[in-house]
Amino acid sequence: MSSDAPRMRLEAADVGYTYPGQPPTRALDSLTVSIADNEFVALLGPVGCGKTTLLRIFAGFLTPTQGVVRCDGTSVDGPSWQRGYVLQESAIFPWMSVRENLEFGLLAKGMEAEPRRAVSDELLRLLGLSAFEAAYPKQLSSGMSKMVEVARVLATDPSMLLLDEPFGALDAQTRAKMQDELARLWEQRRKTVVFVTHDVEEALYLADRIVVLTARPGRVQQQFRVALPRPRPLETRFAPEFSALKRQVWEVIGASSSVYAGRT
């Protein structure tokens, strides 16, 4: 690696994970990947390829059964707010108001009420949810409540974001809107992002780099750099470069996995 290469934030070296059971399930196998500072990386792969497993290892909820994961040079042992993790399932706290949700991580840090409020004020404004500060999450759409979860993690100012299919459960239209929302938020607050998805277009639209994983046990099949200029307006989705790249990705996916065979 040359000295002017970007600093590596997160590195997975030869990582494998096997779920115990009868028979044991091999979710990941000898996976090596590194993520640079402030890079937006999409982990793309078929359902059940171990994307979520890898993200839970990054988040510190699982310890790899093989290999090692390093964050800023030190090996990951256990969860930390420094690696802001947004779960795949809806995990917004329904008994807290939108503001209390946004402030929870700051409360955990022991921050006083006043500075907490300043942070949540700004995030509410960024999300356009100032009118909903006292509302309970049940009053939000599922798309917006997911964005609150992302913002709740951003509030603690972590060094990176780990997002597990945040928009997987949304309809196509809402999903596109939330992708724009996330892109906008990311422009404001540049962070290292690892974004798990099985949606090729979503990966292309959001990421700087796409890491394609094979079917289980997951390992890195191929990587694509997405050199589309930012910010990416709606037209990006219809640009010839976008389509060309999309085709390339589909070809790789279709070649490897029976799951996607015939869908390119």
Binding site: F61, P79, L87, A91, W95, M96, G105, L107, A108, P137
Partner: protein, 270 residues
């Protein structure tokens, strides 16, 4: 008051009204048709009204209120319910939260909770009389016991049922176990704990009527019923039953409206 509650009251009043009309007619007919002399144990009793008319019920109610018998009985029995309920629910919730949180405690507590859950608290009555005496303490502790068992099971299961995703999300945000317990486990478990308290409150009323048969003294609703049976005075029995029924209904309504207030965050269906 929510729409659900208002509908519930409306339906309850309708049903009560219909039954009241039917009863009134039956009682008037019964005055002519039913026997006024019944065989009880070893002798006959005269001037018995098997189905008291509204007039005799009204006279009896007026007597019970004017003599201060009914109001004082209500106050005394309600006081016992409150004392036993508070004691039992606090103890039950504390133990249930602890066993719900700590796997090792559950290991110890599990066979005991299974055993207790199927033991009617009233079966403990003779034991309690020996242990705690023939008086107030036994009655209150008996109510506390039946409340505690229900509350403990409710709290235990509520804590176990807190979705893992909330615990994971809180941990990922850097929350300490203490903060997670206070801000995640407790509020997430709260609706189910409250639901079990509602059941326990109704059960407390069942327990008190029998518990008041030990050291039976006026004033108390349980003894009021027992006395009415001994004499026998059917109007007094019916008024006693209606009083207990009304109190159970009112306390349940109170619990329900509190429940709605403290769980505003929940998604409501219907």
């Amino acid at each position: 008051m929510s729409l659900v509650q208002r509908n519930r009251i409306k339906r309850a009043l309708l049903s009560l009204g219909a039954i009241a009309v039917v009863y009134g007619i039956a009682a008037e007919i019964g005055r002519w048709v039913l026997p006024h002399r019944i065989w009880m144990d070893v002798h006959y009793i005269d001037n018995v009204e098997l189905l008291p008319t509204y007039q005799s019920l009204a006279e009896e109610l007026a007597f019970l209120i004017q003599s201060w018998i009914l109001p004082s009985s209500i106050l005394v029995s309600t006081g016992r319910i409150l004392a036993g309920f508070l004691l039992g629910s606090v103890a039950g919730i504390v133990v249930g939260l602890a066993t719900g949180r700590a796997a090792r405690l559950e290991y110890v507590a599990d066979p005991w909770t299974t055993l207790l859950r199927f033991t009617p608290a009233l079966a403990l009555l003779p034991l309690y009389v020996i242990w705690f005496g023939y008086g107030e303490a036994s009655k209150i502790l008996l109510i506390a016991t039946s409340v505690a068992v229900v509350a403990m099971l409710g709290a235990h299961q509520a804590v176990r049922g807190v979705p893992q995703v909330y615990l994971d999300a809180a941990r990922a945000l850097g929350a300490s176990p203490r903060l997670i317990f206070r801000k995640i486990v407790l509020p997430a478990a709260f609706p189910q704990i409250f639901a079990s308290l509602r059941v326990a409150l109704a059960l407390a009323w069942v327990t008190i009527v029998v518990a008041e048969l030990i050291d039976a003294k006026m004033p108390s609703l349980g003894y009021l019923l027992a006395l009415a049976g001994a004499y026998p005075r059917v109007p007094q029995m019916l008024i006693g039953l209606a009083t207990i029924g009304t109190l159970v209904f009112l306390s349940d309504m109170l619990a329900l409206s509190l429940h709605a207030k403290v769980t505003r965050w929940m998604r409501r269906t219907g």
